[in-house]
Symmetry: C2
Subunit: 201 residues, 2 copies
């Protein structure tokens, strides 16, 4: 009794698409306004969904937040901060290009919303251990990949050294983004890039 032989269906189920759309919208809102300042109603409306649909895919707001971190923030960090850097000839040039690209984007846009990982990690790490672990997993992978690449570039580098170097790069980026968000300026990014250029091998 879904529809008559010719009549259109009242709707078409697209679970994957619906889930994906909700995730996209939630990631965007959490990033721009923050997790606590975004209501599930906001997500429902912006996604053109309903409370029932959202509840079906994400029974609680926490489940939604966790999925955003694991499936969207992780992907974005990978796409903007890891893969392009790895594709560069040398890690140093890749890192500097990354800083420059982000700074350029900040200058183009009118608002600096900050690093999505940092934003959610800072807001949610102390609220719930699950959020903390999810954020930490992304940080750890990020550090691990950069450290590995530092060693590939210079096999003489001690593993301990490579890890510390990677940590500094990521910390400088995270901190610079925090300062950029507060000042609504890309200058901290450019300053840090200029200094890292001198340090990096």
């Amino acid at each position: 009794m879904a529809q008559d032989s010719i009549g259109k269906p009242k709707r078409v189920n697209d679970p994957q698409g619906m889930r994906s759309r909700i995730l996209d919208v939630a990631a965007d809102l959490f990033q721009r306004r923050g997790y606590h300042s975004t209501s599930v109603q906001d997500v429902v409306q912006a996604a053109g969904a309903t409370g029932g649909a959202l509840h079906h895919h994400f029974p609680t707001k926490k489940a939604l937040g966790l999925a955003v971190i694991e499936e969207r923030v992780a992907r974005e960090v990978n796409a903007t901060a890891i893969e392009p850097v790895l594709r560069a000839d040398r890690l140093k040039t890749g890192v500097l290009a990354f800083f420059s690209a982000v700074a350029g984007e900040l200058e183009r846009n009118q608002a600096v919303t900050g690093c999505p990982l940092n934003n959610l990690a800072m807001e949610l790490s102390l609220a719930d251990p699950d959020f903390r672990h999810a954020s930490n997993a992304i940080f750890e992978r990020w550090v691990g990949v950069l450290a590995q690449r530092f060693q590939d570039d210079d096999p003489a580098l001690a593993p301990r050294q490579a890890g510390a170097l990677a940590t500094l790069v990521i910390a400088a980026y995270s901190g610079a983004m925090a300062m950029a968000k507060a000042s609504q300026s890309a200058l901290p990014l450019r300053d840090c890039a200029a200094q890292l250029e001198k340090l990096l091998p």
Copy 2:
């Protein structure tokens, strides 16, 4: 008719003390649980105050948050991150000692709550411009003081250079604290300090 000639007063007004206690408690709760996750009731209870008292000193939660940033966070940054560093013979040794001190404190405590400035700045910067400006003012003063000291140490250093150097130090600290909060470990702090030791003049 406040009290009988001998009877004790029902209470003793202590406006400054009350205000100060509320600020202390609010700063602590905002730092440990976050601004949005802390209700004004939480503050009232923890401070042993009443809704009326809190409302008398801080008409809105935003006013309370702003006062925490301007009167507590700023003070803490000054006391732990600026003055000790300035008192050191050279800025470099002061900065490294600061990193080491914070790392040691993290290792002693069981929980890493992060940098108070960063915590509140990240959570509130996009929520309200006033919060953003208040946070930015602290960042700017911090950068300014360190940059000035870099130049004092080495008059040959270009002003632009000194500022960038100061920005990197603070960004590395902020970012390392973010990573420390996510990993509940002081390692990012120590790694960054080790790398900064090589870069700083």
